[in-house]
Symmetry: C2
Subunit: 226 residues, 2 copies
């Protein structure tokens, strides 16, 4: 019998790579994305393309407007910082942090998994080349996994697992792994603040980390000048 997994799919480079990893591990992938009021909602178009090209079993988009609470540059009228270089990315938690976002995303993934009778959830979080978000740390994931196992009705003795295959990789290592698995990074978009037509700004943390990752692989970003 095939194994089902729920994948949190943003449309970015990381979750596309995780999709390839889950498939390579033999999972039937059920992708879940969110329209949460993000200014870069164009990533949902990328997510739909990735889902189609990579052959997931289903792709659901949950509508959860986090502008209800605000408090982040990604969902509120707060400017996205343009640091201009990776070195200039600050310490501490930046204004692009969305309060409790990964807790919310994982909760929805858990609901989907429970309905599917899936025991595996994949998320492309990363604690190396990242922006310092607290809900990207390994200890957060372990705590959520524990919560998930107490929250649900399974009672089968099987445990729910939260898979974070990228958590200790650099952006360059993530890209290298994805390329080896045949990920088409032209389909992905990482920018926090793209133009209405979907052109990346090239200056936000997410753009800078992405560019560095391709550079360290000795290549140009294949999505550039698409």
């Amino acid at each position: 019998m095939s194994k089902k997994a729920v994948l949190l799919l943003s449309g970015g480079l990381d979750s596309a790579t995780v999709c390839a990893i889950a498939k390579a591990e033999g999972y039937d992938v059920y992708a879940l994305s969110f329209r949460y009021g993000q200014r870069h909602h164009i990533e949902l178009q990328a997510a739909a393309k990735i889902a189609a090209v990579m052959g997931v079993c289903a792709h659901k988009i949950a509508e959860i407007d986090l502008r209800l609470f605000g408090g982040s540059a990604l969902t509120d009228d707060i400017a996205v910082p343009k640091h201009g270089s990776v070195e200039a990315i600050g310490q501490g938690i930046p204004v692009t942090y969305v309060p409790a976002r990964n807790t919310i995303f994982l909760s929805f993934a858990l609901a989907y998994a429970e309905v599917l009778e899936a025991y595996d959830i994949f998320i492309g979080i990363n604690a190396v080349d990242f922006s310092g978000y607290p809900d990207c740390r390994p200890e957060f994931i372990r705590a959520f996994e524990e919560t998930a196992n107490l929250a649900t009705a399974y009672g089968t003795g099987k445990r729910i697992r939260i898979h974070t295959p990228l958590i200790r990789l650099s952006k360059a290592e993530i890209i290298k792994k994805g390329l080896a698995l045949g990920v088409d990074y032209r389909l992905t978009i990482s920018c926090y603040d793209p133009s209405p037509a979907g052109q990346p700004c090239g200056m936000c943390d997410s753009c800078l980390l992405r560019a560095k990752g391709f550079e360290e692989n000795g290549m140009r970003d294949p999505a550039e000048g698409k």
Copy 2:
């Protein structure tokens, strides 16, 4: 300085009681309700009345349509069981269980708390006169609290606390406490399957447990025949 708390407010008897408890403990209450595709969405009208009468600082309603996943009699085309008597309420987890609902609700409460800089979240879950939902158990709440403290950006040394003042009370004890605090139970609705006009069915688990609670206090449900 006043203390802020986020309250999960459903419009039912339990969360109205918790609202009174939080206020009695000196909190400024910020209420949060959900339109999640529940068949008993009329409870949101009750929630709005409770919020207004009990003087909360704000009342937000998050729109999160859990019909996206289905899998519950409360959000899907599955009949709500009508056991007819409290004794007939089955063991095990009933079909009114909504997968991961409390995990999702608490995640949103956490987001709201973080934006408000509140450290206290109140939820009216109960593990005595309840339907056997796994996400009403004390061990689930403790695990979520741990996750919440790892998920967020506070870093102030203060801990987020999930308050569950009803968790070990019977329905009769909850009502007794609420009456002592002046809760107007006419404002509340507990039914899982009310008529379009908001009349409780009188036969679902939630109606049965409510009726028993008032009976044990030697009184009629004040919401009856409203």
